[in-house]
C-alpha cells in the first residue's frame, strides 16, 4: 500500500497474520506461539458471544463507572480563545485511568480460557494497579513486573498493588524500566505456560494483543462519538491523545478513523526535545524494528540495539509504540507530533488551576498540543481530548520538578 493512498476503511486491520501494513505480526519464541494462537481463538470466540459482551458491559457500568463523562472545558476554551475543548474524562474511571477498560476485557477472557494466574507489566503503575484490581475482583493471584527504577519512583502505586493483593516483582535486568518489565513478564509466561494469562497493558505485543486491547479501549471513542452528537449534534474537528504504547489514543481514534472530516493527532513524549535524543517519541524519533512480539517503530541505535526512552511521565517511557499507530502514521491517516517535558508540566499546572482537574502527566502531553492548536482554530471548531488519567500519582514528581519539597 502506498503512503497516502485512500482506503475504503481504516478500521479493517489487522490481516490474518496480525499485520497492519508491514507492522504488527507474531514475533515470539516457539514456546509462546501455541499460547498466542489459543488466545486468538478464544478472543475470536468471545467476540461472537453475547454473554461475553453482556458481562463486560455490566462490569464497565457498575464496577468501572462507565460511561465516563464528556466534559466541555469552558474556562480552558476561554483561556486559549479558539476552538471549543472537550475532555473525555477517563481519569474518572475506577482506578483512575483508561487502563481498567482493557483489564476488565482481558480478565473475562482469562477466565473463559480457564487460566488461574495473571501476570502483567507496568511502567508508571497504572496498568499494574488496574490488573491487580481485576485480579482481586475475580479472586485470581496476580504478579506485576515493574522495573526497579520505576518501583523506586512510583512508590504509591506499588503500595496500591500490594493492598490489592498483587505481588510486585522489581525487575533489575537491563535498565530496570518498562521494556525490561515486559521482557521479564514474557520470561514468566514462557515458564508458566499452562495456568498463566499475560495481561498486556497496551496496544503492543504479538497478535492478537494490539487488536484486542484496541477493541477493549474503543469504548472511549464509541462513547465520545455518541456524547458529542448529543451535546453538539456533530463530530469533533480534531482528536488529540497522548501516546506511549498508545492504548488510550487508539481507543479514542479507532471509532473515528473512517470519519474523514475528523483530524486525528497523536502526541508523543518529546522529553527534552526530539533533537536531544532524550525522548520517547518512537514515530518521530525512531525507525521500524522488531521487539516484544511485533514490528513497529522503535528507539534503536545504528546496530539495532534498543535505546532507553526518556519522558517526565513514566507511562510514556517506552521505546516502542503499538503497531497500528506505526501503520496509521505510514499511511498518513493520523498525524503524530510531540510535546516536551516542560510543555507537559505547564499543561499540568494550567488544567489544575483553570478547570480544577489534576491530570496525569501522560495526557498533559495531549493538552500541551491543544495549547498550540486551539488558539489557531475558530470558535465554532471542536477539539476532543482524551484525559486518560488523573494526576494523584504524579504530585510528588511534579513537586520535585517545580523545586517544591513536600
Amino acid at each position: 500500500m502506498d503512503a497516502g493512498s485512500k482506503l475504503n476503511s481504516y478500521r479493517t486491520g489487522p490481516d490474518e497474520r496480525g499485520r497492519f501494513g508491514i507492522f504488527g505480526g507474531r514475533f515470539v519464541a516457539e514456546t509462546l506461539m501455541p499460547l498466542i494462537l489459543d488466545l486468538e481463538k478464544a478472543y475470536d470466540a468471545a467476540k461472537e458471544d453475547p454473554a461475553f459482551h453482556a458481562e463486560l458491559q455490566h462490569m464497565n457500568t457498575h464496577y468501572a463507572g462507565r460511561p465516563s463523562p464528556l466534559y466541555f472545558a469552558e474556562r480552558l476554551t476561554e483561556h486559549f480563545g479558539g476552538a471549543k475543548i472537550y475532555l473525555k474524562r477517563e481519569e474518572l474511571n475506577h482506578t483512575g485511568s483508561h487502563k481498567i477498560n482493557n483489564c476488565l476485557g482481558q480478565i473475562q477472557l482469562a477466565r473463559r480460557m480457564g487460566k488461574t494466574r495473571i501476570i502483567a507489566e507496568t511502567g508508571a503503575g497504572q496498568h499494574g494497579v488496574a490488573s491487580a484490581t481485576v485480579a482481586a475482583r475475580y479472586g485470581l493471584p496476580c504478579v506485576v513486573y515493574m522495573g526497579a527504577t520505576d518501583v523506586e519512583r512510583q512508590k504509591p502505586n506499588v503500595f496500591r498493588m500490594k493492598l490489592l493483593g498483587a505481588e510486585v516483582v522489581p525487575v533489575t535486568s537491563g535498565s530496570g524500566t518498562l521494556k525490561d518489565a515486559m521482557n521479564e513478564a514474557l520470561r514468566d509466561w514462557v515458564t508458566n505456560v499452562d495456568d498463566t494469562y499475560y495481561l498486556i497493558g497496551t496496544v503492543a505485543g504479538p497478535h492478537p494483543y494490539p487488536a484486542m486491547v484496541r477493541d477493549f479501549q474503543s469504548v472511549i471513542g464509541t462513547e465520545a462519538k455518541v456524547q458529542m452528537q448529543e451535546m453538539e449534534g456533530r463530530l469533533p474537528d480534531t482528536l488529540v491523545a497522548c501516546i506511549g504504547g498508545g492504548s488510550n489514543a487508539m481507543g479514542l481514534f479507532h471509532p473515528f478513523l473512517d470519519d474523514e472530516s475528523v483530524e486525528v493527532i497523536g502526541v508523543e513524549a518529546g522529553g527534552h526535545g526530539i533533537e536531544t535524543g532524550q525522548h520517547s517519541a518512537s514515530i518521530l524519533g525512531g525507525s521500524p524494528g522488531v521487539l516484544h512480539g511485533n514490528r513497529t517503530n522503535l528507539l534503536q541505535d545504528a546496530d539495532g540495539q534498543i535505546l532507553e526512552g526518556h519522558s517526565i511521565s513514566a507511562g510514556l517511557d517506552y521505546p516502542g509504540i503499538g503497531p497500528e499507530h506505526s501503520w496509521l502514521a505510514d499511511i498518513g491517516r493520523v498525524k503524530y507530533v510531540a510535546a516536551t517535558d516542560k510543555e507537559a508540566l505547564e499543561a499540568f499546572q494550567l488544567l489544575s488551576k483553570i478547570e480544577g482537574i489534576i491530570p496525569a502527566l501522560e495526557p498533559c502531553h495531549a493538552l500541551a498540543h491543544v495549547a498550540k492548536i486551539a488558539p489557531t482554530m475558530s470558535k465554532d471548531q471542536i477539539i476532543l481530548v482524551c484525559l486518560s488519567g488523573r494526576g494523584d500519582k504524579d504530585v510528588f514528581s511534579v513537586a520535585e520538578h517545580l523545586g517544591v519539597t513536600l
Binding site: G25, F27, A29, E30, G174, G289, V290, L291, H292
Partner: protein, 279 residues
Amino acid sequence: MSTRLDKRFAKLKAEGRSAFVTFITACDPDFDGSFEVLKGLPAAGADVIELGMPFTDPMADGPAIQASSQRALKAGATMHKTLELVTRFRKDDHDTPIVLMGYYNPIYHMGVDKFLAAAKGAGVDGLIVVDLPPEEDDELCEPAMKAGLNFIRLATPTTDDRRLPAVLANTSGFVYYVSINGITGSASPQARDVAAAVARIKRHTSLPVAVGFGIRTPEQAAAIARAADGAVVGSAIVDAIAQELDSAGKLKSTGAAKVLALVSDLARGVHNARATAAE
C-alpha cells in the same frame, strides 16, 4: 547440498557419538576475550558452536546469558564484530560448524540480504533466531535457505504433534529441542522426558535433534547425549566466563584456559555417554 552441519552430524553418527554443542556470546567479555575462548572450543571438544549475537532485550534468556549480552554490548559489540569473530575463526578452522543465535531486530535493522551475504561470507553455517516462529518464515528463514544457510528451528514442549510439521517444514541442519518451558539456564530437564520428546520429534523428521536449556554438568550432558543427537550447553559456559573476569571486566590471563577446561569436562560427558550406557 551438504553443509558443514550436515557433514558434522553425519560424521558423529558414523562414530556413534552425540554432538556437543557449545554456546558463547560474541564479544563477551570483549572481542579479544571471546575470540580466545572461541578458537579453543573445538580442541576442548565442541562439535558445533553457537555464537550469540548480543541484544539489549533477550526475552527468552535467563540471567546468565542476559548478563553476557550486557557485558558484550558494554564492550562495544556490534553485528560487524560478531561476524569478524567468525571470519577470524575460519582462518584456522574449516570444519567446525558455527551457528549464530539471537534475536531478529539487529538482523532486520542491518537488512536481511546484507546480513545474509555478510554471514555467509564470514563462514557462518546456520542461524537460530528465537523470535521468528514458522508463521514469519518469509522474513528470514526462506531468504536464509536461499543464501545457503541452515535455519535451525526450536521445538518446545508446547509444540504439539499438530504443530510439529509446520515447525519442522523449513528446518535444516538440526532441530533444537528446548527441553523445558522456560528461559535459558533455568530448571534442568528430566532425561526420561527428553528421550520421549526426542522420539516424538523423530517421528516427524530425519534431522538430528539436539537438546538444550538447563544442562549444566557433565553428568546431565551425558544423560541428554544418550537420549539425543546432541546436547547444548550455554549458561554454564557463560557463567564460567563471568567467573574469570578481572576487576576491569577483562578475561584473566588464565581465564580462557579455565573456561575451556570446563568445556572439556562437559565434552567428555557427552562423548563418553553412549560408551558408558553400553557398559
